[in-house]
């Protein structure tokens, strides 16, 4: 079939099918705007759903279950592991992804969002040019939402491929190597490390900084590091990869720890998880005058608008947290602003969760940030060894930590380690957005015995009268 010039007209054109893109498209459609979403992937969901958050959660669930089964051994319950069918595990993960992705297709269809497959480039501020698309060659729009996402950063001089994996390759579970080196101690590195350790690989991890999860509060990272020290072969901090040489099936990795004592070690696979970089090249952004930072991230104002009036940007492509839930919110805001609503990104608390066992999670202002910004504050912790539920579950290592503004007694931030930390930062996020004080939290009844109770207990401790601690 020979395609002529075919142009789609739309109120809103969304570029990208990930969390930022589909949330913007769905919200725009729900506000009555004629919306087209252009995706360069065959399925909706973006990296998060297809090759990131969701499949990794499915795999982590599996290895956490293995760990749980081992732990109850100490309680007199013998659940010996009788093999892992990696292929079946992979299929199950794919099944989860498929169901969620086709769910997105259905929502798009029901809301009347037209999904076009192809690669979009800005031709002018009101026109997108499409390539690799069977459906159209141009989209004319009143407003565009750019949600092009991000991609993994490679080590200098080391291309991804073969046994050098990025996070997406690692999630494909093509093989479980005997010896895996994880490069980068951020959340992707520790989660993937724990997955492969759980599946039987001998895992080593190296991190440039002097500790794992350098962005998180060191106090709450410590119980995780203790756990990983049992599961991993080695944790190498202040260590960087200088060179990787491939020979046959073995990777020779030269590591340096800054003292000039380089060592070369052998691994069967290397996962490089040293960060993500924005995908903002080849979209015609410079041509239409969309301002970008040196790292390529698109500059937006509080209404998600770029320096070009008709173009908005959301999610990873704007830099920032690079978290799916942040992108969701930004997508909603862009759509609402386009529809003439007074939405603004006035977010005070973006939660982050590392889904390891134990979970590490935080939200709002960290103690370190409060110090840097000279906000008078105090830090209050509640150790889970004083929480009935945590002890019953055999998880006394957890900590719930609150950062409290001195003057107002309002919650500035929270940092939590322990299984179920994800739920506590959710509640803490609400408390921060609502400007809740320690009294508000301390006077809110939490179910006993639960892990959520530690949030109330920490607030009571901030007020000077914890219930389950001497002081």
């Amino acid at each position: 079939m020979v395609m002529g010039e075919q142009t789609i007209e739309a109120d809103v054109a969304v570029i990208g099918g990930g969390p930022g893109g589909y949330s913007a498209a769905f919200r725009a459609a729900s506000l009555g705007l004629d919306t087209v979403l252009v995706s360069d992937e065959p399925r909706l969901g973006g990296v998060c759903l297809l090759r990131g958050c969701i499949p990794s959660k499915a795999l982590l669930e599996a290895v956490h279950t293995i760990a749980d089964a081992q732990r109850v051994g100490e309680w007199g319950i013998d659940l010996r592991l009788d093999g892992i069918d990696v292929e079946q595990l992979h299929e199950r993960t794919e099944d989860v992804v498929d169901r969620l992705s086709s769910g997105l297709d259905q929502i798009a269809q029901r809301r009347g969002v037209r999904v076009v497959h192809g690669r979009a480039t800005f031709e002018e501020p009101g026109v997108l040019h499409l390539t690799d698309s069977d459906e159209a060659t141009r989209i004319r729009f009143d407003a565009a939402v750019l949600a092009a996402g991000s991609q993994p950063v490679a080590l200098p001089g080391v291309e991804f491929g073969g046994q050098v994996w990025d996070s997406s390759a690692a999630l494909r579970l093509d093989s479980v190597p005997d010896r895996l080196l994880v490069v980068g101690g951020g959340y992707v590195g520790v989660e993937m490390g724990q997955i492969y350790a759980g599946l039987g690989a001998t895992v080593s991890i190296c991190e440039m900084e002097d500790r794992l999860l350098p962005l998180a509060d060191p106090e709450i990272v410590s119980p995780l590091t203790d756990r990983l020290a049992e599961q991993f072969e080695r944790i190498m901090t202040t260590t960087r990869v200088e060179e990787i040489e491939r020979s046959d099936d073995t990777l020779h990795v030269r590591l340096s720890n800054g003292d000039g004592d380089d060592t070369t070690e052998e691994f069967d696979a290397v996962l490089v998880a040293i960060g993500r970089t924005v995908r903002s090249e080849g979209l015609g952004l410079d041509e239409i005058g969309v301002e970008r930072r040196e790292d390529g991230s698109v500059v937006v104002d509080e209404s998600q608008r770029t320096s070009v009036e008709s173009v908005y940007a959301v999610g990873d492509v704007t830099g920032g947290s690079m978290l799916a839930h942040d992108a969701f919110r930004q997508g909603d805001i862009a759509a609402e602003v386009i529809a003439g609503r007074p939405s603004r990104y006035d977010v005070r608390a973006v939660p982050a969760v590392v889904f390891t066992d134990p979970q590490v999670a935080w939200v709002g202002t960290s103690a370190e940030e409060a110090d840097d910004r000279e906000i008078p504050h105090r830090v209050v912790t509640f150790p889970w060894r004083a929480a009935g539920r945590a002890l019953a579950s055999g998880r006394p290592e957890g900590i719930t930590k609150l950062i409290v503004e001195e003057e107002t007694d309002r919650l500035l931030g929270a940092a939590v380690v322990g299984p179920g930390a994800e739920h506590i930062v959710a509640e803490a996020g609400l408390a921060i957005e609502m400007a809740a004080t320690m009294r508000d939290i301390g006077a809110t009844i939490h179910t006993h015995p639960t892990i959520s109770e530690t949030f109330e207990e920490a607030a009571l401790r901030a007020l000077g009268h914890p219930r389950h601690l001497p002081s």
């Binding site: 809103v12 729900s30 705007l33 930072r293 104002d301 947290s321 386009i338 990104y345 982050a352 107002t408």
Partner: protein, 449 residues
């Protein structure tokens, strides 16, 4: 060091003003006490003198803006050292320092392209250059409401615990009332308000703010269409607020009567053709007020003050709307003086050159729509006064005399609106009868000092 000149309450409970004229531009050099702008408050235009000397760094407002007390008007850079007068709102260095900090942060980001999670998101955003002050304690929905109502939430005083800004505070700010600016509020008044708030909140909880997709715009629209709803501005806004307040709080009763001014008209034609009927009625009213002092009074905070002095406001219709200049010490003036003074005030009202003092302090008001027509109307009292005298059009009218004959007389319709909390219908009837008697007997009217 930058210093910011903010709008001050001149001490009369002014909450806001409209910028009528901006007299300086960025980069201008200003001496202390030079006028920097003209604002319209309530009924008068005021020139605002600069409390500082210096170069204008930023003009924060433009003509037509509604500014609230405390809002920044002009920021001066402080090269030329000026004393900071006490009592003025002088912002400390925080603002400019924060600005620099922002820039530094931006710079750091550029050096470190791998900047990642945990970084203050706000710093990454190119905002309109607002100083990043501490976040206002308010829930996300309240913050959204503020944007919907176009209210700067950082300028709203929170009435919740610890200064929390509640949805009601934002609504009040939008209506123009600033909850804390009301001065010394009585305790039970506060309690009452709290209760009302509670009820309102409960009501809101029952009626969740649901979005109605069918009412959504079908096209992206973010600019006001011409002819769309516009906020009231300036004097209209001030008038709107004052009459609404009067109407809502004062139980008005209007007593109507007619005065036979046939004789007065003859007298006026012969003796004082240059004096207006209004001047004669003001004179008659002053005479009646001295006999019925409870109509020359103010009522505030449940306290009635019967005024020993008498200042009569006279409504004037101008291009900008209704203005009520006040004839001060009216009881000490002769009819001639009253006439002359009224003429002057009227001219100044029409040319917009009244000062704040010219429009305040009235104890009674007269409004005459007669020249424009009308047989009767119900005027609205100017708080804290307790009565207003309205005149409709005097006209030749068939009148039945005591002898049962029908004669044609010039009758002036008189409408007295009074605050029923202070006076009763009988008081009003007696007061108006005195006015009628004085108007019907010009000699007696002139005898009154």
């Amino acid at each position: 060091m930058s210093r910011t000149f903010s709008l001050q309450d001149p001490g009369e409970g002014i909450h806001e003003a409209e910028v009528a004229e901006v007299l300086v531009a960025e980069g201008d050099s200003v001496e202390e006490d030079d006028s920097v702008m003209v604002v319209t408050t309530d009924k008068a235009d005021s020139e605002l003198p600069s409390p500082f000397a210096g170069t204008v760094e930023t003009v924060h407002v433009s003509v037509g803006d509604i500014v609230e007390v405390g809002d920044p008007l002009v920021t001066f850079d402080g090269d030329e050292d000026g004393e900071e007068p006490a009592g003025r709102d002088v912002e400390d260095e925080g603002e400019s320092d924060e600005g620099e900090e922002d820039q530094e942060t931006d710079g750091e980001e550029e050096e470190d392209p791998q900047a990642e999670a945990g970084e203050d998101e706000a710093d990454r955003r190119s905002t309109s250059g607002e100083p990043s002050a501490a976040p206002v304690p308010a829930s996300p929905s309240t913050r959204r409401l503020a944007r919907e109502l176009d209210i700067d939430i950082s300028a709203v005083d929170g009435s919740g615990p610890g200064g929390r800004v509640l949805a009601d505070d934002v609504r009040k700010a939008a209506e123009g009332g600033r909850p804390d600016a009301e001065g010394a509020e009585k305790k039970d008044e506060k309690r009452k308000k709290k209760k009302e708030k509670k009820e309102k909140r409960a009501k809101e909880a029952e009626e969740p703010e649901e979005e109605q997709p069918q009412e959504q715009p079908t096209e992206p629209r973010r600019r006001e269409e011409p002819g769309g709803a516009q906020p009231l501005r300036g004097w209209r806004r001030a008038t709107a607020r004052r009459v609404a307040e009067s109407w809502q709080t004062i139980p008005h009763v209007t007593h109507m009567d007619r005065a036979d001014i046939t004789g007065l008209e003859t007298f006026r034609a012969e003796r004082a053709p240059d004096l207006t009927m209004t001047a004669f009625v003001v004179k008659a009213a002053i005479g009646a007020l001295s006999e019925h002092p409870r109509f020359n009074a103010t009522f505030r905070d449940d306290e009635l003050e019967v005024r020993p002095d008498c200042h009569v406001g006279v409504a004037v219709d101008t291009e900008r709307g209704l203005v009520v200049p006040v004839l001060a010490d009216a009881d000490r003036r002769s009819l001639r003086e009253i006439g002359d003074e009224l003429e002057q005030l009227g001219e100044r009202a029409r040319s917009g050159s009244l000062e704040r003092d010219d429009v305040s302090g009235g104890t009674f008001t007269v409004t005459n729509v007669g020249p424009l027509g009308g047989t009767a109307f119900t005027p609205i009292i100017v708080p804290p006064q307790v009565a207003i005298l309205g005149l409709a059009r005097a006209a030749p009218t068939p009148v039945v005399t005591d002898d049962g004959e029908i004669v044609v007389r010039t009758m002036l319709p008189i409408c007295l609106a009074f605050d029923h909390r202070i006076n009763d219908g009988a008081d009003a009837a007696r007061f108006v009868s005195t006015i009628v008697a004085l108007l019907e007997d010009p000699d007696e009217l002139l005898m009154r000092s």
